[in-house]
């Protein structure tokens, strides 16, 4: 059934109003009549009228004054002015203010109806144009939104960043308060990200969902969008968290890539009837973009994690080979020396026997150090290293290991510089002594004899920075972060460095410094030298 247009007639002539209501009513229009400008305004405020017929002279206002107000309220209204002969001038003026036509009184009904018809025709055309324009704008908006989602999710190969960016765009472009994404993992749907849920509701958000059952599983397994206008009436128990959060409607779309579901995107709002076909189309499009980005990220992650695993595996194998080598070398000396003394076929002289014993003693110490390193590393890996932090003067830290450092640097020049004014640090002196010894030992290993090794300390805000600098071969820029990794082995140590280390020294240093709440870093220029620095909190 066609809804007939509504017409408001404003005139202070009651008889005229009666007649006109009958004529227009007979033609099927819905007619309202009022006799003052005030009444007209409140009538128009209540609802839209297609046509307003205004007498130009009203008791409480001039029709030409009323017209701009009406046009302001409803720019699309068809206004027809009625005028006596004397006020034609005013009526012409009102055409300039937006009136569709004017008619002189007494009004010829045929003429009035034909004017109304023409007016309504124009109005229909205008509204249709506007609708088309809006449609176009909406399509543009959808396209732009998809483009911006696609750009946002393509920014990263990090799965979490992609999901977060996508959910932000969903909120931005649809105005929906809540959005969330589930992705398939280990044969279940797992929550991969959410936005707009209060912490209390987040607690109720299921971490996992079944692939087949419930609303979420349904969207996933059917590969089709679902809209639930009233959550209070419809939808599975898996959406209870939305009901508890006071949300009214829900829509979900599958995340599809080449016909395969990889998850779902769900949105919810506390407003009703939000999900127009346009919005659903938009959500489906966003779902496609997310699916592509997620798949890319997953493929990338798979590729890089298997690479990382392989690297770790290689490092472990190398580590085992190195540890084996490091343990077997002193063991070979101990076993060989003791075994020499036990051989029945040769009796060694006193001096040689003593040499064997000295070797056994020395390499037993080497073994002990190695075992200590390995233990320390396993403690660090288990986060079980205890540091006994007490306020200590920086110079005391150095003094404690001075003999060891001087022993290491007999072929080098060791310079220690500490300003008198330096505040004490909160440190475990024994552990920090190990760090210093390790750093100096490295400096010796990687620099020529007769070069200088400098140990310096200076305050920086609430920290003390301690550094060990050498004039050695340096570290290539691409290796500067890697040197702190477990099992990393420096190559090209200088000639005469008898044994390779365990590859644990700097990893242990980092562990000890970090257990103090400090940081350790390296600056180096290949060929010029290397400076290791670490920070400790001031006491």
């Amino acid at each position: 059934m066609k809804v007939k247009e509504t017409i408001l007639v404003v005139d202070d002539d009651r008889d005229f109003l009666d007649i006109i209501r009958r004529i227009l009513g007979y033609k099927g229009y819905t007619v309202e009549t009022v006799s003052s400008a005030d009444e007209a305004i409140s009538c128009l405020k209540a609802h839209f009228h297609n046509v307003a017929i205004l007498d130009i002279s009203l008791p409480d206002a001039n029709g030409t004054e009323l017209l701009p107000k009406i046009m302001g309220m409803h720019p699309d209204i068809i206004a027809i002015m009625l005028t006596g002969h004397s006020s034609v001038q005013n009526a012409v003026q009102s055409l300039n203010s937006g009136a569709f036509a004017y008619l002189e009184k007494p009004v010829d009904p045929e003429n009035l109806l034909s004017v109304i018809n023409r007016g309504l025709e124009r109005q229909r055309l205008m509204l249709e144009n506007r609708r088309l324009l809006q449609e176009l704008e909406r399509h543009n908006r959808v396209a732009n939104t998809l483009l911006s989602v696609s750009q946002a999710v393509a920014q990263s190969l990090d799965l979490q960043k992609i999901i977060d960016a996508a959910l932000e765009k969903v909120a931005e472009s649809t105005g929906l308060e809540v959005s969330f994404v589930y992705l398939t993992k280990n044969d279940r749907l797992q929550i991969a990200g959410h936005r707009g849920l209060s912490p209390m509701i987040v607690d109720k958000l299921p971490k996992e969902a079944d692939k087949q059952s419930g609303t979420i599983g349904g969207i996933y397994s059917q590969g089709k969008p679902i809209v639930i206008e009233k959550l209070s009436k419809d939808g599975g128990e898996d959406l209870d968290f939305l009901r508890q959060g006071g949300y009214f409607s829900f829509a979900g779309v599958p995340l599809m890539i080449v016909g395969e579901s990889i998850g779902i995107l769900g949105v919810a709002t506390s407003f009703t009837r939000y999900f127009s076909p346009t919005n659903n189309e938009l959500l489906l499009g966003i779902g496609r973009e997310i699916a592509i980005a997620v798949r890319n990220a997953q493929l990338y992650e798979e590729a890089s994690s298997s690479k990382a695993l392989r690297e770790l595996d290689t490092m472990r194998t190398e580590f085992l080979a190195n540890v084996s080598h490091e343990l077997r070398t002193p063991l070979a000396v101990i076993k060989g020396s003791a075994n020499s003394l036990l051989q029945p076929d040769v009796i060694f002289d006193e001096e040689t026997r003593r040499e064997f014993l000295v070797s056994i003693d020395k390499d037993a110490d080497t073994l002990t150090r190695l075992v200590d390193d390995l233990l320390m590393m396993s403690r660090l890996e288990a986060d079980a290293l205890e540091v006994n932090r007490k306020p200590r003067a920086v110079l005391d830290l150095f003094d404690l290991v001075k003999d060891r450092l001087e022993g290491l640097t007999v072929k080098h020049r060791l310079r220690i510089t500490v300003p008198d004014s330096i505040p004490p640090v909160a440190a475990d002196d024994i552990r920090i002594g190990e760090v210093l010894t390790n750093l100096v030992d490295n400096a010796v290993k990687f620099s020529e004899d007769n070069t200088t090794i400098k140990i310096e300390a200076h305050p920086n805000l609430k920290e003390i920075i301690i550094s060990v600098a050498d004039e050695g071969i340096g570290i290539l820029p691409e290796l500067q972060e890697k040197v702190f990794e477990r099992f990393f082995q420096g190559k090209n140590g200088r000639k005469g460095s008898r044994r390779k280390g365990t590859g644990l020294g700097l990893a242990i240093c980092r562990g000890i410094v970090e257990a103090h709440g400090g940081k350790i870093w390296v600056e180096s220029k290949p060929g010029k030298g290397t400076k290791f620095s670490f920070s400790l909190p001031a006491a």
Binding site: A321, S324, H325, E326, R328, T329, L331, A332, V333, I334, K335, G336, S337, N339, S340, Q343, D345, V346, F348, T352, E355, F356, S359, K362, D363, G493, K495, S497, R498, R499, K500
Partner: protein, 231 residues
């Protein structure tokens, strides 16, 4: 009899001292080197009867020294390794090492290995009664320790020669793995099947026109080897 000269190559001074002392006490002359480069220089300057070579060394490592020495010399090489890795062992033997010992080791064990290596060098007491062996283009002159295939000289290391000689002298039987290991290397080697596999491979590469389809040394799977076809 002249003293035998042994070169010890190891970057660990304690090991060098330990080995020198023991070998000197048993009548050997000693030359030492602390890295691969030094050992390659030394081994070209002066004659040595045997090389004891550490595997992990700075600059040129033991594997590389072994490979390069084998390019021009068949001097026996015993590898000392602190990595107990089976792959390393096979790799070294394939590159021409004669023996492989894992650290730590006993002095007696090392002395036994050195003796085995020297035994392969041609102890007259193990030379066969017959003076030569000929089969399908291959000729072995036992007196001169000389091998030719189709008239061309083939250079073998002492261990390779020992193995070939043993196969030739017993060419009428199948020799089991443990028989071969015990007679060519010694009793303590009877379970070192890798040695046998590697050395048979080395011999085939030197003797056989097509090592994949050997015409001389035949494999009897699960049992052992024999030279030529059994009728």
């Amino acid at each position: 009899m002249d003293k035998k000269r042994i070169m010890i190559v190891d970057d660990d001074p304690a090991i060098l001292r330990l080995l020198s002392t023991n070998l000197k006490a048993r009548g050997y002359e000693i030359v030492t080197a602390t890295d691969g480069e030094e050992s390659l220089e030394a081994v070209q300057k002066e004659f040595v009867d045997l090389i004891i070579l550490d595997l992990m060394m700075p600059k040129v490592d033991g594997v590389e020294v072994c490979r390069r020495v084998r390019e021009w010399s068949d001097v026996p090489i015993i590898i000392l390794s602190a990595r107990g890795d089976e792959n390393d062992k096979v790799k070294c033997l394939e590159l021409g090492a004669d023996d492989y010992l894992t650290k730590p080791f006993g002095i007696a064990e090392l002395m036994a290995r050195i003796k085995t290596a020297f035994r392969h060098r041609g102890d007259p007491s193990v030379a066969p009664a017959q003076s030569s062996f000929t089969y399908n283009g291959m000729e072995i002159n036992f007196a001169k320790r000389r091998v030719t295939v189709d008239g061309k000289d083939v250079t073998l290391t002492p261990t390779e020669y020992s193995l070939l000689q043993h196969l030739a002298v017993n060419s009428d039987k199948v020799l089991t793995h443990s028989m071969l290991l015990q007679s060519v290397w010694g009793n303590e080697y009877s379970s070192e099947k890798e040695y046998l596999r590697v050395f048979v491979g080395r011999l085939r590469r030197k003797l056989e026109p097509d090592p994949k389809n050997p015409r001389y040394i035949q494999t009897i799977p699960g049992v052992g080897y024999h030279l030529a076809a059994i009728k």
